[in-house]
Amino acid sequence: MRSRKLIAIAMAPFLLLPFFFSSAQESRESEVRVWAYTNATIYPVSSPKIEKGTLLIKGDTILAVGTSEGVKIPAEAEVVDATGRTIIPGLICTHSHIGSVAGADSSSPIQPEVRVLDSIDVRNTSINKARAGGITTANLMSGSGHLLSGQTIYLKLRKGNIVDDLTIKLSDGSLAYGVKMANGTNSIRDNGPFPGTRGKSAALVRQKFIDAQAYLKKRKKHQEEKPEEAFERDLALETLAEILEGKRTVHHHTHRHDDILTVLRLKEEFGFKVVLHHVSEAWKVADEIAEADVPCSIIFLDSPGGKLEARDFEWKNGAELSKRGVVTAFHTDDPINDSRWFLRNAAVGVRAGMSRQKALEGLTLAGAKMLDLDDSIGSLDPGKQADFVMLSGDPFSIYTRVLETHIEGEKVFDLKDPTDRLYAEGGYGAGHNREASGCCFYR
């Protein structure tokens, strides 16, 4: 992929001259390059592992995946010999706090109008580190200190200058995002408008959704009766209405078995799409979760505890859920678990009884399903976006390193690059989010 960088360097002087700018643009658009990664061990995830496989990419899209005999390499393709390497789909983190993400403030427990989009710092080193961990798509969200702390944002971790360069547009033109909710201890506070008990927490949430049902009715009536008049929008209720209409998924933090069932009751009552997050005590109510057909985004920690709700956390959650057919994905909850070790979750899952296939899905395809993006990402299939990770070995081995991360055909992380390596391994400067220009002593 070195040649691609050379082209960029060669084009740089042109970009400086407005005179040549348009022609440079045109040549880039007409140039759709084809890449063939050959002789790799490939896990497409949607189909069995391929030894000595070929991954063929055209521009930002996967053209073909298969054995070296099965995939014909076009004459114009640039061939990368990936002997000894393992290629897996780009990793999807369904729950992350990278990019200095922030949501609701302490003024009230339910704030659906708040968009975390408005808080993201794409220059925060946590995003570089996530790319170094092989993460290509992440669901960035605010915390669990509120019953509803705002709208999350699904990002492709492209190398962008502003957050808009990283967002995902849906077919209706809106951005891809969900809504963060929480129950249990974290969203209970002993002050003001915040709930002091679990019963009050549930009542506050139910009332808001009842308000949203009324809002939907009112809006529908308005559109039918006075379509020419502008409708008085309520930002908060509009977001809840989107949930009721099934347009947005609720990403629900929950730990204890009783809190998990409270979420399932809310889902039942209001009919919304929900993904259960963390679910420390999932193993206690795995049958009920499977019965409700609700996906789970789980975390692995090196020990239980740290708070009452996580006392009964067990590594077997992944196995207990996946064997009951529950769509099960992992998340980093970065900074709880560092994005650079996301792969390690699959290994802990296998240790505690998950199949290797389900564990790999947990890093990729299952997450894509939870974000409703499985048409375009999550597996290596023709027509899907060319998001993939090149590894030094077996995805389940601790000794395996992420060598390269590619998003939509573009390399966004390369361990050979000294700056990328600094973010991958740490070192002086790796934690400096706002490096002074003209600085420093460590490069």
Binding site: S303, G306, I336, A347, G431, H432
Partner: protein, 427 residues
């Protein structure tokens, strides 16, 4: 699961109530009691003894004697398992894992202040007189959690977060209550000290003030030591009355108790080295996230490092931490050991060989990673005659695995302390 527990000398299903059978049962019970206190053979496909060049023995055997000590170690070709020994087989066996610095037993699973959080007293910044033995709860579930995973010894006690937060101790993970100092391996193994942001509040509010306060305290220790020596030499003079705090400081200055200084940034590491040079105590550097900037200085000072958890979070004073630190210390020939450290939230404890594993992924040779959670911490703690490697006469503490102990997918199948199987949960 490749672990086979060899047939025990009994056929308990024989329903026979004759007096002879009753007698047999008594003998059987006695022989079981003997088995519980040793007479255990461990057969391992790969046996890491953690001696010599650290390379494992293929098809090795360890015999655990009745006294809880190792009776023999070597290749299966040279060691005969005596009659009456129970045999455990594993793919891999190694010495029981030693956590070089933890707060387990003081910082409990529930994380509830005044209930199970005994690791940091904030009433005053300097309190070296606080003893770990008075705070340790060996029945906390996290102690069992670590034991089931293969950790047999912890260096635990007061946490980082104050200029001098208190003492640490070395204890095995099968000890549930400290009924006497003999229940520990070392009752006062170090005094924990912290430099840098974590130890700053209203006062000390700056790094310079923190060092000034520490120096003043150590000087008080010096003048007390002088008084004690004068009293020893001059019978006319009375020895000073016991003073809990000053007596600990004298122990530090006399190199009886090391000072374990948690310092992450390079300025703080340099300050710790300056203090050591001025007062001549035994220094153990703790954390040392930016030690890679001062390798020569640390090497010259002859100071060992208890390196921060590899999976520690890169924020605050650790913002420039690197996963390659252990590999760099190894290359610079600086002695180091892995620690689980102190966690304020989740996970409430880290697991020391998981931290070693992550360092192995970032350039540290596998056997060095294993040594840094067995024989290396034993040496730094001055316990290498007793624990940390599998050698005749040392404690029969072992961890058994169904694969490479550093691989995440590997299970710990059995854990043995003093010749006794304390866990067979295959976690």
């Amino acid at each position: 699961m490749p672990v086979i527990i060899a047939k025990l000398p009994a056929a308990a299903s024989t329903a026979n109530f004759s007096p002879i059978y009753t007698m047999f049962k008594i003998i059987l019970a006695l022989s079981f009691a003997a088995v519980a206190h040793g007479q255990l053979a461990v057969k391992a496909g790969l046996l890491f003894t953690m001696t010599g060049d650290l390379k494992p023995i293929k098809n090795g055997i360890v015999l655990c004697g009745e006294n809880g000590k190792i009776r023999a170690v070597g290749p299966a070709s040279k060691i005969k398992i005596p009659a009456g020994y129970q045999t455990l087989a594993a793919k891999v066996a190694m010495p029981g894992i030693i956590d070089a610095h933890s707060t387990v037993g003081l910082s409990g699973i529930l994380n509830l202040p005044k209930h199970d959080q005994e690791q940091l007293e904030t009433s005053s910044p300097i309190q070296p007189e606080l003893r770990a033995v008075d705070a340790y709860n060996g029945r906390d579930p996290l102690v069992k959690w670590l034991r089931d995973l293969g950790v047999t010894t912890v260096h635990t006690g007061h946490a980082p977060g104050a200029l001098m937060s208190g003492q640490l101790m070395v204890v095995k993970t099968n000890v549930s209550s400290i009924t006497s100092m003999k229940d520990t391996l070392v009752p006062a193994s170090a005094v924990a000290s912290t430099l840098g942001a974590k130890a700053l509040s209203k006062s000390p509010g700056t790094r310079a003030k923190a060092i000034a306060m520490l120096r003043a305290e150590l000087m008080k220790g010096q003048s007390r030591r002088l008084k004690m020596e004068e009293a020893k030499d001059d019978k006319e003079k009375d020895a000073p009355a016991p003073n809990l705090r000053l007596d600990v400081l004298v122990d530090i200055l006399n190199k009886k108790t090391p000072l374990l200084i948690n310092a992450q940034r390079h300025q703080d590491i340099a300050a710790a080295l300056r203090l050591q040079e001025e007062f001549g105590f035994d220094l153990i550097l703790d954390g040392a996230a930016e030690a890679y900037l001062l390798l020569e200085e640390i090497k010259a000072a002859g100071v060992p490092v208890m390196v921060h958890p590899t999976m520690g979070r890169p924020y605050g004073d650790l913002e420039n931490m690197t996963f390659t630190l252990a590999a760099k210390l190894h290359k610079a020939d600086i002695p180091f050991a892995f620690q689980s450290g102190y966690e304020t939230y989740v996970p409430k404890t880290r697991v020391v060989h998981f931290e070693a594993a992550m360092a192995a992924a970032y350039g540290l040779p596998q056997e060095v990673a294993l040594a840094a959670c067995t024989i290396q911490p034993a040496e730094i703690l001055g316990l290498d005659k007793k624990i940390g490697s599998l050698e005749k006469g040392k404690h029969a503490d072992l961890a058994l695995f169904d694969g490479d102990p550093l691989e995440t997918t590997t299970h710990t199948t059995h854990v043995i302390i003093d010749g006794e199987v304390v866990s067979s949960s295959a976690k």
